[in-house]
Symmetry: C2
Subunit: 256 residues, 2 copies
DNA sequence: CGTTTTATTGAATGACGTCAATCACTGTGG
DNA sequence: CCACAGTGATTGACGTCATTCAATAAAACG
């Protein structure tokens, strides 16, 4: 099963998975079948899935940003995670009968809606792809844990710096950064719901982050001045993203 | 495959899984094989797995409490999750090559250490057990999400009340509560690292919770006065624990 | 029994939230 | 083209919740 000699793909989904293990052309083809499953479009702020619903599909973000979120009875909202292009939601959702949170579009959003059957058909025939998806899923759990550290231990300044850092690195891993710049569609209200801060405090703190020259935002584009400085300010340790091709022993061009 | 007529098992692992779907006697036998895998013992405060290590085993808590935790470079500590008897750590850990956090014993601890091969052997032959384990794993992810809501949105009072509520319900689901009472080995330092508060504030706030008559603690035993009152105080919604036998369509005594 | 860990208390400080007003930007329709 | 509405960002004043420091008390442990 020889590896492809074609240039690296620009598809964010495949690009990201290749951080785990090199895929064969067949694996990529299978990934593209997932990518091209029934396409759904949403407007910004629409819900993709609602609390209480029966989770019947695995969803793959093709374009745009989305998030998981949850309300407290009295209206307080917490964002639980972000989905950027190439991100896939929980592989085993089918096992639960009722969603305990919402998934909503942040920007105009395109997702591939994959039925249980299609998912199992495709991944059963491509164990390396399935491995890569498991890796991605474990990375997402690690990101959730890191968000816990964020909310529990980091100051407002560190939380925001950490978010900037994480998002940039995730977008870069998906091939969606140019140099030290990437898209930045998040409003300060969203940042507040992600970081557990008030919008007022986000405004003030974000200002400080900019004034310290760590980042710049113009036209919804984030530019980082010096990644190491930002990491230091955020107490950022990238190990939780597991991006160092940890699964290289599974590479398509290795002997099994 | 007839269901057992024996009384409900007292094993916390099986007891918990039965909240998802009724297992057949064979399924229970397989679960007991996992339970009886190579036993390891730890003293309180010892580490079970350390950051940076290669995760080679799935572990199942047989007795005692443990937790996941993580340090920031400057020593701040955040507890990411609790393990009580019957809890199992990430099913797919093998996929990652390096732990990004610690798992440590809170009390004297007994765990079953299950190799990848043993785990795959046993679950491959018992798909309903594997399904139940997936359910458990998804519930754990849901718990992590709820902890995010806790840290991001709830006040100190609510956080502590919520923790009390969750732990009680999880222990009860594992058959480890008597009436409205259960074991409570957590020190206030631990509660502080779980809730992202200082020990001083935990002391004061916990005092208030007790003074309001919501709970009582004596000899490391927690007693809840009125569960509904506690739930209300915590803005607790149990849906995230997915305990309502959601997988009953998979029950062993149903037609496949 | 001393020693260590855990829990409690007070006082001072600081981080962050709330309220309310203003400003900037965008898109829309007349 | 401008008026206007709606959303998002910013600012100031002030209040509150939670932290820090430091001292003490109470349990747990060998």
């Amino acid at each position: 099963m020889p590896n492809s000699v074609l240039p690296s793909p620009t598809n964010p989904f495949i690009q990201k998975l290749e951080h785990y293990a090199r895929l064969s052309d067949e694996d990529r083809g299978a990934a593209m079948r997932l990518w091209n499953e029934r396409i759904q479009k949403f407007r910004a702020k629409d819900d993709v899935v609602r609390e209480g619903e029966d989770p019947r599909f695995v969803r793959l973000v093709v374009d745009g940003w989305a998030c998981r979120y949850k309300y407290l009875e009295d209206g307080r909202r917490q964002v639980l995670g972000l989905f950027i292009p190439g991100d896939i939601c929980d592989l085993n959702v089918f096992v639960l009968r009722e969603m305990d949170h919402f998934i909503g579009a942040i920007t105009p959003l395109t997702v591939a809606q994959i039925s249980r059957e299609a998912f199992e058909d495709i991944t059963l025939a491509h164990p390396r792809l399935l491995q890569a998806l498991w890796w991605d899923s474990l990375v997402n759990m690690a990101i959730q844990r890191e968000w816990l550290v964020n909310l529990g231990q980091r100051t407002a300044f560190e939380r925001i710096a950490h978010l900037l850092c994480e998002i940039y690195l995730r977008l870069r891993a998906a091939g969606r950064a140019k140099g030290l710049s990437c898209e930045w569609p998040l409003t300060q209200t969203m940042i507040a719901d992600i970081t557990g801060l008030s919008t007022v405090h986000v405004s003030r703190t974000f200002q400080t982050v900019r004034e310290e020259g760590l980042v710049e935002i113009r036209n919804r584009v984030l530019t980082i001045r010096d990644l190491d400085d930002l990491k230091t300010a955020a107490l950022f340790n990238a190990n939780y993203l597991h991006l160092d091709r940890e699964g290289r022993h599974l590479d398509a061009n290795n002997a099994a």
